[in-house]
């Protein structure tokens, strides 16, 4: 390796773990922001911005559990989303009368099982080489799903369309309804995950991530912790996949869960901040909003005179530069950047306890 100082391949830069909480003020503010879109009522905002943003944040959370907290690098996130999506579809199809949330939870469980299987190699393989396992998942699973038409209910093309979104008597088929359902599910899963990472499981993961030999020495079973991380991570990704298919695109297609999607989720986690819950939302916002923002800006500045291909390629270059810039300037992700900015620029809001938050 060419680094000047020896660096441990297993250690990753992470944001410090925060466990203090003050409920009422921020919860109220969060509520307001979440409910604001209903007042605005824009189709575009719901269908094209908020829903994918929420789902990608959830997916980021799933990957963060595995890579940020447990330190197991994974490039197969999209494959587990695919499992969740198809499992949800099949459960809904073959068990008529099963309410949608249960079907999604079922999809998550199936995805968790799959994650467990592909996580087994982590017991033997460490570090960067572990991507072989998740990459194998990334290519094998979409093949499996499109090869055997049972998964798509006999549909020749392997694409299935999601049934109309109904929750008991509630018809959620409108953009606002989809947003509401997505918001609820994402909030629930995030709450569950954040409790998990702040408890003994989370601490075991962090120990395994930082130095698994030492963790074993103090009595944590690294194998069990890693597999648990794979399972939880894949559950969350499976639910995200179900949401992606049912509340966002309305179709379930293996090609939408390809390697590019896995990279996208990995970007969300890195830019947002490894080992943070809030960071996933920030990272997803960055990933979703930046191309849209650039596209709209280009449309406004350049009008229709300029070749769209040129604009698109310039965007790509800008995106690449921003990614590198970000990695250089703020390695701990947006979440630490934001915290630091607030701490230094907005001191009048109140001081924070210094050092590692606990």
């Amino acid at each position: 390796m060419a680094a000047i100082l020896p660096s441990d391949p297993a250690a990753t830069q992470v944001a410090p773990v925060r466990t203090g909480r003050r409920w009422p003020l921020w919860l109220l503010a969060l509520f307001t922001v979440a409910l604001l879109p209903f007042a605005i009522g824009s189709d575009y905002l719901f269908s094209a911005i908020l829903v994918p943003l929420l789902i990608l944040s959830l997916a980021g959370l799933g990957l963060n559990v595995l890579t940020g907290y447990a330190g197991q690098l994974s490039l197969g996130s999209a494959a587990f989303m695919a499992v969740g999506a198809f499992a949800t579809y099949n459960l809904q199809l073959r068990l008529p009368g099963l309410p949608m949330p249960l079907a999604m939870a079922g999809g998550g469980i199936v995805a968790a099982g799959t994650g467990l299987v592909f996580g087994l190699p982590s017991l033997r393989v460490k570090g960067f080489y572990l991507i072989a396992s998740t990459l194998a998942a990334q290519f094998f699973i979409p093949w499996l799903l499109s090869q055997y038409s049972w998964f798509s209910n006999g549909n020749d093309s392997g694409v299935v369309t999601a049934p109309p979104l109904k929750l008991g008597l509630l018809d959620l088929d409108s953009p606002a309804g989809r947003y509401a359902l997505t918001l609820t599910i994402v909030a629930l899963v995030t709450w569950g995950a954040s409790n998990l990472v702040r408890g003994p499981a989370g601490r075991a993961w962090i120990a395994v991530r930082d130095m698994d030999l030492a963790a074993a020495a103090i009595g944590i079973a690294p194998g069990r912790a890693k597999l648990f991380a794979f399972a939880v991570s894949s559950f969350i990704l499976g639910v995200a996949g179900g949401l992606w298919a049912f509340t966002y695109l309305g179709t379930v297609e293996p090609a939408g869960f390809d390697l590019d999607r896995s990279f996208q989720i990995l970007f969300i986690v890195i830019i947002g901040g490894l080992g943070s819950i809030r960071g996933n939302f920030l990272g997803a916002a960055f990933i979703v909003l930046l191309p849209v923002g650039l596209s709209i800006a280009a449309g406004v500045l350049a009008g229709s005179q300029v070749d769209p291909a040129l604009i698109e390629n310039i965007q790509k270059v800008i995106f690449g530069i921003l990614i590198i810039f970000f990695l250089i300037v703020e390695p701990d992700g947006l979440t630490t950047l934001v915290d630091r900015a607030l701490r230094t620029q907005f001191r009048w809001i109140g001081s924070r306890k210094s050092g590692n938050q606990e």
């Binding site: 000047i4 250690a11 990753t12 990459l135 094998f140 090869q147």
Partner: protein
Amino acid sequence: MSFFLNVLVGGALAGVMYALVAIGFVLIYRASGVFNFAQGTMILFAALTFANLVEMGAPMLLAFLVTFALLIGSAFLTERLVLRPLANRSVITLFLATLGLSYIFEGVAQIAWGTQVHSLDIGLPDEPVDLFGLSISSFDLAATAIAALLVVGLALLTGRTGLGLALRAVAADPLAALSIGIRQERVTVIAWSLAGFVALVAGLLWGARSGVQFSLALIVLKALPVLIIGGFTSVGGVIVAGIVVGAGEKLAEIFLGPVIGSGIENWFAYVLALLFLMIRPTGLFGQRDLARI
């Protein structure tokens, strides 16, 4: 039997093409410790530049040199603007930086040269050749010969020259290399330039085979399992791994395909890589990392 051999040999030769791409990765990994995802778009960039220069009327040799020069320039820029600020960072961070780099290469290549498909003729015909009773593509044979030349050249470079010695020193122990006066920046730029050269050769061969267009950048996905099997640090290992992957893939597709479904090629290489890893966690010829508390 001859059908089986045809598939085997054809696959092995195709695998050499994968290995060609993978060699670029190995060069960079040894010098910078980073898995350079941008190798794929470097190939696209190199092939597009060459194809367009030739179409504009430049003789092939000139086009080759100009493209190589551009790649050297980009190696400089990469070292200065990306690698230096990110020294000492984690493997994942560097990997993601190369992902960002690949976006930049892709964008610049397409801004400069457009998004159209170009055909590339480098004078290598693609006819079936009868060799030992097997039908082998003349193009594949030529590609293998070129790859062999490249490997030999690289081996000579690293084994016999002072530059090669410096490369090996930096790969083995950067701190020690620094202490005896080897300039790491220079070595990095040279390694990336060499990788650029390899990308250029690979780009020409792949471009001649399937046309110069965006999907060239996707070949890197096949090179990944080759690297994992062959180890990130060994050129020889990568060649062997390439042959194994290429042959295995084709055989699986043809003989396993009717049993479990077609399209096995999609994932076979990766599953193979995974199986290899379980047996030998650091790759066929990779270095063993010792873990200490």
